[in-house]
């Protein structure tokens, strides 16, 4: 038992998990238990925790892709814009605005949207791996241009759709659980298996730690980079589908706005070094849940809208401090010095 605990506490996801549980408990206490109540209506589970999972699904998906990119020391700030493109394409097809021959076929809409995200990812990967542009600049191109492209697709309008099938992506239930949860499980599960069961994870860490040495042992660094940026783009497209299904339309200006920073934050809270190296996808996913639950908490506390961002920032500072080794050393040193002063 003790041994299991020790082994668990060495895992990278251990600390984020504890933080997440603390946030949940805090919510439970403040709401006098209401937070944890789950109700079943029409065979569907409802409750705050379910909300967090559903609303956090996009972030969890993005964090999964972002983890691999940050593990190589790169970054992808275009995911929000790719979400907008994906939503714009899917909704326009469902609506019949583009490709009318598909007759609003939802499957075609989903496939083309994900394809667009994949192409966007390939573009990013091409710029980073082949042209050797710094990742933040390379992905900034699509971050800026992406929303413009999305607006060209929707002709500058907010596209609203009516399709119960399409709504299902965000609002559907399977076995009483929200559908986005299954998407997360599928995609994240794929990533975890892919990085863990193949040598991909080892190569990623190697590239993140020392790209030159990695090249010298024969790792095809360029191809690795191309692959992860492509994956990140495809994942962002899926997140874009969930988003647009949630608001029942495509809003090119606001879909996924600023979510790239939340995704990077989620990975950071998960404990992956943003300069590259060791990474953990489960830890990042828990990080995403933390970011989402902070938002939920702040809203649940009834904080006036003007203070929300400040409070969120404060919570993030506290979490980051709790993970900083330097800060801990500092506090311990202070304590010891104080003790010495008192003792002398």
């Amino acid at each position: 038992m003790r041994e299991t605990w020790n082994r668990l506490s060495e895992k990278q996801y251990f600390r984020p998990l504890i933080i997440f549980i603390i946030i949940l408990l805090f919510n439970g206490i403040v709401s006098k238990g209401e937070f944890f109540t789950l109700s079943i209506v029409d065979g569907h589970l409802y409750g705050r925790i379910i909300d967090i999972v559903r609303n956090g699904s996009k972030l969890m998906i993005l964090a999964g892709g972002m983890t691999m990119i940050l593990a190589t020391g790169g970054t992808d700030i275009s995911v929000g814009s790719i979400m907008a493109i994906s939503g714009a394409i899917a909704c326009s097809i469902v609506n019949g605005n583009i490709f009318p021959s598909f007759n609003g076929n939802v499957a075609a809409a989903i496939i083309l949207a994900i394809l667009a995200g994949t192409v966007s990812g390939i573009w990013n990967g091409f710029l980073v791996a082949k042209i050797k542009i710094q990742p933040i600049v390379a992905t900034m191109i699509l971050m800026v241009a992406g929303r413009g492209i999305a607006q060209l697709i929707t002709r500058g309008k907010i596209v609203t759709i009516t399709s119960e099938t399409y709504y299902f992506i965000n609002g559907g239930y399977i076995c009483g659980l929200p559908f986005p949860l299954f998407i997360v499980l599928f995609l994240v599960g794929f990533l975890v298996l892919f990085t863990g069961r193949t040598a991909f994870g080892l190569f990623l860490e190697s590239v993140g730690c020392n790209p030159t040495a990695s090249k010298y042992v024969g790792i095809k660094v360029d191809r690795m980079l191309l692959a992860i940026y492509t994956l990140s783009g495809a994942f962002a497209a899926v997140a874009g589908l969930i988003e647009s299904a949630g608001i029942k339309g495509a809003d090119c200006n606001n879909a996924g706005l600023g979510i790239e920073m939340d995704a990077i934050l989620a990975v950071a809270i998960g404990g992956t070094n943003l300069m590259g190296g060791r990474f953990s996808i489960p830890a990042s996913v828990i990080g995403a849940l933390i970011v989402q639950s902070i938002t939920t908490t702040v809203l649940a506390l009834g904080v006036p809208a003007a203070y929300i961002r400040v409070l969120k920032a404060l919570l993030i500072i506290i979490i980051c401090l709790s993970q900083s080794k330097q800060f801990k050393d500092l506090v311990i040193k202070r304590k010891m010095i104080n003790r010495k002063v008192v003792g002398s």
């Binding site: 069961r197 193949t198 040598a199 991909f200 080892l202 190569f203 860490e205 190697s206 730690c209 020392n210 030159t212 040495a213 990695s214 090249k215 010298y216 042992v217 024969g218 790792i219 095809k220 190296g277 060791r278």
Partner: protein, 509 residues
């Protein structure tokens, strides 16, 4: 020696990393004014840790450091500098993207009366300072514009200029040519006359006997003794550094090829015909046979490393053809080379070799994993077995396979890199400066490994700046100059004199 002459005294210093690793145990050391004092020991003897404690990089667990009879306790390099201790490390740790002058005065820039930096003065002062070192370079150019040797000299100039009483030189000569070493020694002697105490860490025993006054030897984190250089014979010094393994070392250092091995005709592994690579190698012809140790001799930039990089698919081949075992081979990437049975330990262990943040076992299996392909993951169990096997075979000193490679000493890191390539079961092993910055014991071990491998039929390409070890290991030697092959020596023809003659541009035999 009068007590008044003592500058720096270190008593009973202990330092442990975690519970398992005791880096220093009860170590003492003293440095006089106007003295060059060698600090010697094998890798892992505790030299680096002692220096880190003195310079405030690491905090000591126990013990006393006294400077001029006053107890000091530096907690950062800045504090150590303020106490008058300044350091030059093996790897230049200046800012390559700042100018030479900026690097010398960073953190203590002269200001003019408006409080802004006085650039004219900085550049003039820097020029004046470097003139003293006979280093006539453009101080406004970025540091990375110059060779590592020049950067090292700049670092030394900076250190000596910081009003230092104690100057610590941690293997400053490993990237310098012999002319530059001479210049450095002149400067060291001059600083000694000015009353500075210099701690000199090196792996080159010749240099110890050339320039130092006293020697302190550490072994396994313990103090062995302090001796006057002129009273300690070289053999005894080595014995003290190595400890009881002395006899074995002597054997390894004297290891020679059995006579018959030289004469056997072996099958050709790789053949280069008129190979060129843009910007580096031109019209290169080369044949490497199984079971031979082929040496590349030549000065830095003569094409030694460049040729190895072309052979390993790092630099592209623009012209000519490569045949591996009589079949055309296309070496477009390191992966191609690995699949053709080639392995390569690059020159810069830190930047091109080790993956610092990864564990020993991960570093060892990496090349094999690449060879097998991404979808054939080596199981944790197999990886562990491989790592253990090589830790034992190559005698890698580590607490375990999970240890991060960056925590190992240079020699052991090199052994891990060697293990990484041996795990791929190569037929042709290229080693570029595999013993640079490594202590004598490990050096001898690596040389022995090379000979063993070749004895078992592996083709080895050995590149080294140290002619001694080349003479000992190589069965054939190719001398390079200006990216071209200028001479070849076989078996008994190989001698220091012959190599030097060809290197310098005498007749090509």
């Amino acid at each position: 020696m009068s007590a008044g002459n003592q500058l720096l005294t270190v008593r009973n210093i202990s330092k442990a990393f975690g519970k398992a690793v005791i880096a220093l145990a009860d170590v003492q050391f003293d440095l006089n004014r106007g003295e060059i004092h060698a600090l010697l020991g094998e890798n892992g003897a505790g030299k680096s840790t002692l220096i880190k404690v003195l310079t405030g990089v690491e905090n000591k667990d126990q013990g006393i450091i006294e400077m001029d009879g006053r107890q000091i306790n530096p907690r950062s390099t800045q504090e150590a500098q303020n106490e008058g201790i300044s350091t030059v490390y093996q790897e230049v740790n200046l800012c390559p993207n700042l100018s030479v002058a900026e690097n010398i005065y960073i953190g203590r820039e002269p200001r003019n009366r408006f409080g802004t930096i006085n650039w004219k003065k900085i550049n003039a002062d820097a020029r004046e300072l470097l003139d003293k070192f006979d280093l006539h370079i453009n101080v406004t150019k970025n540091l990375d514009h110059y060779s590592v040797a020049v950067q090292q000299m700049v670092a030394i100039a900076r250190a000596s200029d910081i009003d230092a009483k104690v100057l610590i030189l941690d293997e400053p000569t490993s990237s310098l040519s012999s002319a530059e070493v001479d210049k450095l020694f002149q400067i060291m002697r001059k600083l000694r006359e000015e009353g500075m105490g210099i701690v000199f860490v090196t792996h080159f025993l010749d240099q110890v006997y050339e320039v130092t006054d006293r020697i302190t030897v550490l072994r396994n984190g313990k103090y062995v003794g302090t001796y006057l250089t002129k009273e300690l014979p070289r053999v005894e010094l080595v014995g003290k550094m190595i400890g009881k393994d002395y006899a074995g070392l002597k054997e390894a250092m004297n290891a020679k090829w059995p006579e018959e091995a030289e004469r056997q005709e072996k099958e050709t592994f790789i053949k280069l015909v008129n190979v060129s690579s843009p910007g580096t190698v031109k019209g290169f012809e080369l044949t490497v046979k199984m079971g031979e140790v082929l040496g590349f001799s030549g000065l830095l930039g003569s094409g030694r490393s460049e040729t190895a990089k072309v052979l390993f698919g790092i630099d592209p081949i623009s012209e000519g053809e490569v045949k591996v075992k009589n079949e055309m081979a296309h070496l477009h990437s390191p992966l191609d080379a690995i699949r053709n049975g080639i392995a390569f330990c690059p020159e810069n262990r830190k930047t091109e070799g080790i993956i610092g943040e990864l564990s020993i076992w991960e570093n060892i299996i990496l090349a094999l994993q690449v060879k097998r392909g991404i979808f054939h993951k080596i199981s944790r169990k197999e990886a562990e077995e491989l790592a253990k096997e090589y830790i034992e075979k190559l005698q890698i000193k580590t607490p375990g396979t999970e240890q991060l490679i960056k925590n190992l000493s240079g020699g052991n890191q090199q052994k891990v890199i060697l293990a990484r390539w041996l795990a791929t079961d190569p037929e042709f092993l290229m080693l570029d400066e595999p013993t640079r910055g490594i202590d004598i014991g490990t050096k001898a071990e690596i040389q022995k490994i090379i000979m063993d491998l070749a004895g078992r039929g592996m083709a080895v390409l050995f590149i080294s700046s140290e002619i001694d070890e080349m003479l000992r290991c190589c069965t054939r030697m190719i001398v390079l100059r200006d990216m071209k092959q200028v001479g070849e020596l076989n078996g008994k023809e190989i001698s220091e004199e012959a190599i030097m003659r060809i290197m310098a541009g005498g007749e090509a035999s």
